[in-house]
């Protein structure tokens, strides 16, 4: 409390001094009054100042203010965050009561865009804004989850419940074949990098997020803008007085469904025997040792209970994780100085035992008016955390084996054979794997008002990140440890980035009709990422693990490191023009030069233009008395993506190896290096020849939009159509083998994304006590692979039946020995390619007639379709069997308030995407439904060990779902008459309450490749949160 009064004193002193000086030099007019909100509630902490001067004050707790003005012609400005700013000419009045409207309802909130801001009404591009205070309090350790369902055209896929795991964010579809489709994130003007795993910024500190989607708004970020931009604005000091906010959230999680594991060993053993016998193998459960010397009880032993074990491994491996999120924020603003200090401590437990995550965020933000025309400020974000990795434990272990010998915890772990590397307790207790990370983001800026219409701002940003991972794999229980007689490693990764940006902004209104805003600037970016990796093997004594790598055999120690540097220069500018509040035009331009671009393509140019027409200001529309807003927008812009381009692809590069001469290993160096291993043959692929033409990927985007508002803005509609065309996609081409290099990066390949976005917001009920509002967001994106480069140079495959050119993309699925996803010209990205199945073969004749032979023609087998009708089922019978891209996404937010009680519900849905369920015939829920002589089903094949499963449409399932993503009930307490108490909020929140879907696995929300790998159910989370503000 002491502190608070200190600030007060200083603020008082400053104000007094201001008034004295004002009094000394000018004739005074006194003005007083009360500022209140629409409901008549007095507003404390509102800035009241005379326009064009430094004279100003703030309203007290009862909303009252007193101000001395220079003349009767003076304009007084009333402003407060979250409220629409008001300007009043004083005239002869001495008392002036003002009502400020809530900005959320208003048209003229300020929207942050690249290198500036704009009134929402003057927007010409497609930009969504998410104000955090409008969102119900949601438990989240990172910002990715908060974005879900908040903006049309933004797809947030959270496929992992692992603690600290990020999400995949796509704005208007992916437009790169390689990694590098993540949007750019800009925090308070600092472009910090790719979205997807933003652990640096605590969600508690965010005030608003703006999402730049169209070509006109993203082009200002040039070669980093093509995937869209997420602008984050953090919370700043509260008006007038010290404000302390303490918030506490605790979350407990549980599985959304039962685990699909074997509970009945008799059934499991019976099916296993059946499957092995059908495959011509010796059955396992016969009461004898298998070839590895492991005793498997007979089915009878299991049945009559003489085999005593039936372990529920999920109970051993999983827990109900608890997470904790504590935030303390101090925020204050005086006339000259505002500061905000926020500290968040976040701990998260994974669903696996001892799989933990901890993180501390500190955010300090200070701005100071050093001079009437100069503001300086700094923003510092510090994050430190650690992760104890204990995920992936074997919850799927065979239940007939106990955890310990004789099920006695004082005895040894029960290991299955000599090569058992999946005992979860043995691993938990003996293996170590930790990661520590530290992130620092710092920004300092100075902003000078050079002329009344001209402003200069220079901001220096610095980012430092460090991660240190250590592991020890013991001599027993782990494969790596057994093979190497103990194996330990330490990996260091550092990242350093400096971005220095200076901008000049000119802002003036001519003759009250021509609003001109012009901005120009320069940016410099330097990035340096050193990394190192230490390995030791063959440990004499295991007790120190990775703490003492020199404990390994000195001759087997391995050291490697790497270093990557990047430099980028940019010039950029924007011109905004609004005429008569009706016609708007925006032109932008950015030029980027990067050390990653080839010498023949050093500079990239990214122009854009947009037009807007506020028709509701035209008389012929006004006269209709229908529209409160009717705005048309059109934009076209070019932006780029340089993320997929690695550093040094334009340099020649030598490789390094070792050759054994004279009894020792000697370093060997020369042209050509191994750039990667071929995903299919596993062979080394050689690169190292530079491409002097290498450049960014280019996206051209057309956007047409309309903003509508009706019924006193109680119904608002935003609709957009976009067409994005991306070319010069970064791809690897093959070189003639006699050149001694396999691959080289080139720009080739094209992809198209087009779609529509619709947002409907309504305030259905709006009375003193009751409020009901809702928003429905629907978007549809259709992408298409247009070109993949020359068939031969890029090694494309050709479908023998249709001539369709394609290549495999993504990861191999072991069960099918196939990569399910392809990029095929004319098709959507990542469609599934495989066989078709027409039920199950019921008789051998049927199988032979279908073109199958041998074992594959027997009853109980899949009846694959002979697509090319050549009488043989082979790889030439494959076709496109599914599309993992959704037809459309929809989300519905509902908010109901009664007095101080708020109820919010958020439904999220994704429709029309196919999911490849790789577990459709390998789990306890489906294998008992197998085909047998007695159960000649047409739905499932027979069980047969050793069967080669072709990837087929039998595994493709509809992944459409609707999820009640979040429900929160919030009680607000304010104005209870205590002077030191401002407000309190108590929230009860549930995430992932239910999901409606036909999908057979745990959850259809999988990665963008549409492959479902099984695993465990999604988590449902219950959170209790309390937030107190003093």
């Amino acid at each position: 409390m002491k502190n608070r009064f200190g600030i007060f004193k200083r603020a008082f002193l400053v104000l007094t001094l201001c008034s004295i000086s004002a009094f000394a030099f000018a004739q005074q007019i006194k003005l007083q009054g009360v500022v209140s909100d629409v409901s008549g509630m007095p507003l404390p902490g509102v800035n009241v100042y005379e326009k064009g001067t430094t004279t100003g004050t703030i309203t007290n707790i009862d909303g009252e203010y007193n101000i001395s003005l220079s003349s009767a012609e003076a304009t007084v400005v009333y402003s407060s965050i979250g409220m629409v700013q008001q300007e009043m000419v004083v005239g002869v009045r001495t008392t002036l009561n003002v009502v400020l409207e809530d900005e959320m309802l208003g048209l003229d909130e300020v929207i942050v865009i690249g290198y500036g801001s704009v009134q929402k009404s003057d927007l010409t591009g497609a930009v969504s804004s998410v104000k955090m205070e409008a969102l119900p309090m949601k438990p989240a350790g990172s910002i990715d989850g908060l974005l879900q369902g908040q903006s049309a055209g933004v797809q947030v896929t959270a496929s992992s419940d692992s603690p600290g795991a990020g999400a995949t964010i796509r704005i208007r579809g992916g437009s790169s074949y390689r990694s590098g489709s993540d949007p750019l994130v800009v925090v308070d003007g600092f472009p910090i990098g790719d979205a997807g795993n933003l652990s640096q910024i605590s969600p508690n500190d965010i005030a608003s997020m703006e999402i730049l989607k169209d070509g006109s708004s993203t082009a200002i970020y040039g070669s980093r803008g093509a995937n869209g931009v997420i602008m984050i604005t953090t919370k700043k000091g509260a008006q007038g007085k010290m404000e302390v906010t303490v918030s506490q959230q605790n979350t407990i999680s549980e599985f959304t469904s039962e685990l699909n594991l074997w509970r009945d060993p008799v059934l499991m053993a019976g099916l296993s025997n059946e499957s092995r016998i059908n495959g011509g193998f010796v059955p396992l459960y016969v009461g004898a040792n298998d070839p590895n010397g492991v005793y498997y009880p007979s089915v009878k032993e299991l049945e009559d209970g003489s085999w005593p074990y039936n372990t529920r491994w999920d109970d051993v491996v999983f827990r109900n994780p608890v997470s904790n999120n504590t935030n303390i924020a101090l925020r204050s603003q005086t006339e000259k100085t505002q500061f905000s200090l926020s500290t968040t401590y976040f701990t998260d437990q994974g669903i696996y035992i001892e799989d933990d995550y901890k993180k501390l965020n500190v955010n300090l933000n200070v701005t100071h008016k050093a001079h009437e025309k100069l503001t300086i400020g700094t923003n510092v974000y510090f994050t430190k955390g650690n992760r104890n990795n204990n995920g992936g434990l074997a919850y799927w272990r065979n239940p007939i084996f106990p955890v310990y010998e004789d099920n006695d915890p004082t005895k040894d772990y029960y290991l299955v054979g000599t090569q058992d590397y999946s005992h979860p307790i043995a691993l938990t207790e003996n293996r170590s794997s930790t990661t520590e990370f530290l992130d620092f983001l710092g920004a300092a800026y100075a902003e000078a008002q050079i002329l009344s219409s001209l402003k200069f701002k220079s901001q220096l940003n610095y980012k430092y990140g460090r991660s240190l991972s250590e592991y020890y794999n013991p001599k027993v229980y782990t494969e790596d440890g057994t093979f190497n007689n103990g194996s330990a490693g330490i990996d260091n990764y550092d990242t350093n980035e400096i971005i220095s940006e200076s901008i000049l902004t000119f802002d003036k209104v001519y003759n009250d009709t021509h609003k001109v805003n012009a901005m120009g600037g320069f940016s410099y970016r330097y990035k340096k990422d050193p990394s190192s990796s230490l390995r030791a093997y063959d440990f004499l004594n295991e007790s120190l693990g990775s703490g003492n790598l020199s404990g390994g055999d000195p001759e087997k120690q391995r050291v490697s490191n790497g270093l990557s540097e990047e430099v980028m220069y940019s010039w950029f500018g924007r011109l905004n023009y609004v005429m008569a509040e009706k016609y708007m035009a925006t032109l932008t331009m950015r030029a980027d030069a990067s050390s990653k671009f080839g010498p023949n393509n050093k500079w990239a140019m990214f122009p854009s233009g947009a037009l807007g027409w506020k028709m509701h200001h035209e008389d012929f529309i006004k006269n209709l008395n229908v529209f409160d807003e009717l705005k048309l927008r059109a934009s076209y812009g070019i932006s780029g993506n340089q993320e997929p381009i690695g550093a040094y692809l334009i340099n020649s590069r030598y490789g390094q190896d070792q050759y054994y001469v004279n009894g020792r290993w000697q370093t060997a160096i020369g042209p050509g290096y191994v750039s990667r291993w071929d995903s299919q043959t596993g062979k080394k692929l050689w690169s190292g020849i530079p491409n002097p033409e290498l450049k960014w990927e280019t996206t051209r985007q057309l956007n047409l939009g309309v903003d509508l508002a009706f019924f006193n803005r109680r119904l608002r509609v935003i609709a957009d159509y976009y067409n994005k065309y991306t070319n010069d996609l970064l791809r690897e081409r093959w070189l003639s083998p006699s050149a001694a290099y396999d691959l080289m990066y080139v720009n080739s390949g094209e992809i198209k994304n087009q779609g529509i976005e619709l947002t409907i917001e309504g305030d259905v009920i709006d009375t003193q006590d009751w409020r009901l509002s809702g928003s429905l967001i629907v978007s549809r994106n259709k992408n298409e692979v247009v070109a993949l480069g020359d068939e031969l140079a890029f090694g494309l495959s050709s479908d023998p039946n249709t001539g369709m050119l394609y290549e495999f993309n993504g990861s191999n699925v072991e069960a099918f020995r196939a990569i399910p996803n392809i990029l095929a010209i004319g098709e959507a990205v990542n469609v599934f390619y495989g066989h078709k199945v027409d039920g199950i073969i019921q008789s051998e004749q049927e199988g032979l007639a279908a073109g199958l032979d041998g074992k594959l023609a027997q009853p109980g087998e899949f009846k694959y379709v002979d697509i090319n009708e050549d009488g043989v089922i082979d790889e030439n019978d494959r076709t496109i069997i599914g599309d993992p891209n959704p037809d459309f996404l929809a989300s519905l937010n509902l908010q109901l308030s009664y007095k101080n009680l708020d109820l919010a519900m958020f439904f999220n849905g994704s429709f029309g995407q196919d999911v490849l369920n790789t577990k459709a015939f390998s789990e306890p829920s489906n294998t008992p439904l197998r085909w047998t002589q007695d159960n000649p089903t047409n739905d499932y094949p027979s069980l047969r060990d050793g069967r080669n499963y072709y990837l087929s449409d039998w595994y493709v399932q509809d992944g459409s779902f609707v999820r009640l993503q979040n429900v929160s009930l919030m009680y607000n307490i304010k104005n209870i008459g205590l002077s030191w108490f401002k407000r309190a909020r108590v929230t009860v929140n549930a995430t992932n309450l239910f999901t409606i879907s036909n999908f057979e696995g745990y959850d259809p929300e999988v990665g963008n490749d549409g492959i479902y790998w099984g695993g465990y159910p999604k988590l449902r989370k219950y959170t209790l949160g309390v937030e107190l503000t003093f």
């Binding site: 050093a370 001079h371 025309k373 100069l374 100075a446 000078a448 200069f456 220079s458 220095s500 200076s502 410099y524 330097y526 391995r558 490191n561 790497g562 270093l563 990557s564 540097e565 990047e566 430099v567 220069y569 030069a593 050390s595 550093a647 040094y648 340099n651 020649s652 590069r653 030598y654 390094q656 190896d657 070792q658 050759y659 054994y660 001469v661 290993w665 000697q666 370093t667 060997a668 160096i669 020369g670 042209p671 050509g672 043959t681 062979k683 080394k684 050689w686 020849i689 530079p690 093959w734 070189l735 003639s736 083998p737 006699s738 050149a739 001694a740 290099y741 031969l792 140079a793 090694g795």
Partner: protein
């Protein structure tokens, strides 16, 4: 106001300083043409990189797919994959993945040798170093070009370093005359520049002479037996034979570092790679970290015997352990039938019985435990898991003895032939009576099969003698071109506009 100007001024300076910095980032995390080849040590490392190319997993082992599987020596494991089976069945197409891997690796090795040549010549190193480095690089360039000639016939000659995109589409040479002249020129330089200096894993003057002898012999016999396109060679077969004999004779008589090792066991002792026989041997060691650094050659030749350690009986009645293998290269009955029963190359070098650590027999070829008799040429008793020091034998002294015998094909060269047979414990030829020169040469080819079985040589003998169809039934019905050369890999034909 002054403070304001100061701040603005410093910001302007700061921006100015930044913009002066260059847009070029010199790589500091790896070597490149910008920071390498500064010293003789750099050049030395670069030369080792050229040698290291010979150990590439898709180069060294693939030699055996060509030279053993495609002949009467070995059959392939049935599920080794279509690309491997194609060699046994003589159905190798331009799409064959192993074929392209081999082709590309040969050119990688050539490019690395070219890097040494271009960056050493005239760099002002001292003459001794310069000659040694250049000599070995010229040797390696010829070695790899010869591999290309043997496998593919007429294919690009890479005469200079490829390090720019404009240089990536090589042209075809006019014919074998140009190719042989280039290889011979390289080797003559190597012979001039190098001294006799044995280092296991590297080549010296004698290796250069030995390779010259082998190349001349290949050319001579190929021209003589009417192998397609060899008529383009300007020298007569006789002259080529003479040249082969000339260089072979240098190896056999003009040095004392290398020689005939009368003890068969010594030759194949993995720990004796500096034995007299080894004029050029690849260097691999079980202490390496990745395949290529260490060798898995043993795994290819040994059959799968239950996945554990087995013991082999040595000539001195002791027992040595080895891992079992993958059964990739399976000895044919045909090959076994080519030996006399007492031939030590069978009795000592083909394994038909295995033992456990207590020296009890655990199975034989006869009882089916061992699915084929396997060679002891690649056994590392100190194996670590799959890691061994088993090395491909690149040029053996015995090889040059037989090259000489074949080139001369007269009484003068008969003792060398007999020396090989004597070591194997089989009968010798007292004289050449009743044998034409051709007959004797054919006897030598038969002896070469027995002596160099499993050493990656058989197919080249069959090809240069135009005898593939005589010994390999699977090759029936193929054209002379198909027998003599594998097709240029499809990717080369697709991407290189100079080759179709």
């Amino acid at each position: 106001m002054k403070t304001l100007y100061k701040i603005l001024f410093s910001l302007a300076i700061a921006a100015g300083v930044y913009s002066c910095e260059s847009l070029t980032v010199e790589p500091e995390g790896f070597y490149s043409d910008k920071n390498f080849y500064k010293t003789v040590e750099d050049a030395e490392a670069s030369l080792l990189y050229a040698y290291d190319a010979l150990t590439l997993v898709s180069y060294a082992p693939v030699t055996f797919y060509f030279a053993e599987l495609a002949t009467d020596n070995c059959n392939v494991k049935s599920d080794e994959g279509a690309d491997a089976t194609a060699f046994t069945n003589w159905e190798v197409t331009s799409q064959n993945e192993l074929l392209s891997q081999y082709y590309r690796c040969a050119y990688i090795a050539i490019n690395r040798a070219n890097a040494v040549i271009e960056n050493v010549e005239g760099r002002g190193f001292n003459e001794v170093d310069e000659k040694r480095l250049l000599g070995e690089a010229y040797f390696l360039r010829a070695w790899n070009h010869f591999n290309i000639v043997k496998a593919f016939g007429i294919a690009p000659l890479q005469k200079s370093l490829v390090d720019e995109i404009e240089e990536t589409n090589a042209s075809l040479p006019e014919g074998f005359q140009e190719m042989y002249a280039f290889m011979i020129e390289d080797l003559e330089k190597a012979n001039d520049y190098l001294l006799v200096n044995r280092v296991a894993g590297r080549a010296d003057k004698i290796a250069a002479q030995a390779l010259l002898a082998k190349i001349y012999l290949f050319a001579a016999s190929a021209k003589e037996s009417g192998v397609p396109k060899y008529d383009a060679l300007t020298e007569s077969a006789e002259n080529l034979y003479a040249k082969a004999a000339e260089y072979a004779e240098l190896v056999l008589t003009a040095q004392s570092e290398y020689g005939h090792d009368a003890n068969l066991q010594n030759i194949y002792d993995v720990n004796a790679n500096e034995g007299k026989e080894h004029i050029f041997i690849l260097s691999m060691d079980r202490s390496g970290t990745q395949e290529g650094d260490y060798s898995k050659l043993s795994k290819y030749f040994i059959p799968w015997i239950g996945g554990g350690t087995v013991y082999l009986k040595n000539t001195d009645e002791s027992y040595s352990p080895t891992h079992d293998g993958w059964s990739v290269f399976q000895t044919t009955d045909e090959l076994v039938s080519k030996y006399e029963a007492t031939d030590k190359r069978v009795t000592e070098l083909l394994v038909t019985e295995i033992f456990d650590e207590d020296n009890n027999s655990t199975g034989t070829v006869a009882d089916g435990t061992i699915i084929y008799p396997f060679t002891r040429k690649y056994i590392d008793t100190e194996f670590e898991g799959d890691k061994t020091s088993t090395r491909p034998y690149l040029i053996r002294y015995s090889d040059i003895q037989l090259v000489y015998a074949e080139a001369m094909a007269n009484a003068e060269s008969l003792p060398y032939y007999n020396e090989i047979r004597r070591r194997a414990g089989v009968s010798e030829l007292t004289d050449l009576s009743g044998l034409s020169q051709d007959d004797f040469r054919n006897l030598i080819i038969e002896e070469r099969q027995r002596e160099f079985a499993f050493e990656g040589d058989r197919l080249w003998d069959l090809r240069r003698k135009n005898m593939v169809q005589t010994y390999v039934t699977q090759a029936a019905g193929l054209s002379p071109e198909q027998l003599a050369f594998y097709p240029i890999p499809q990717r080369e034909k697709d991407l290189n506009p100079n080759i179709n």
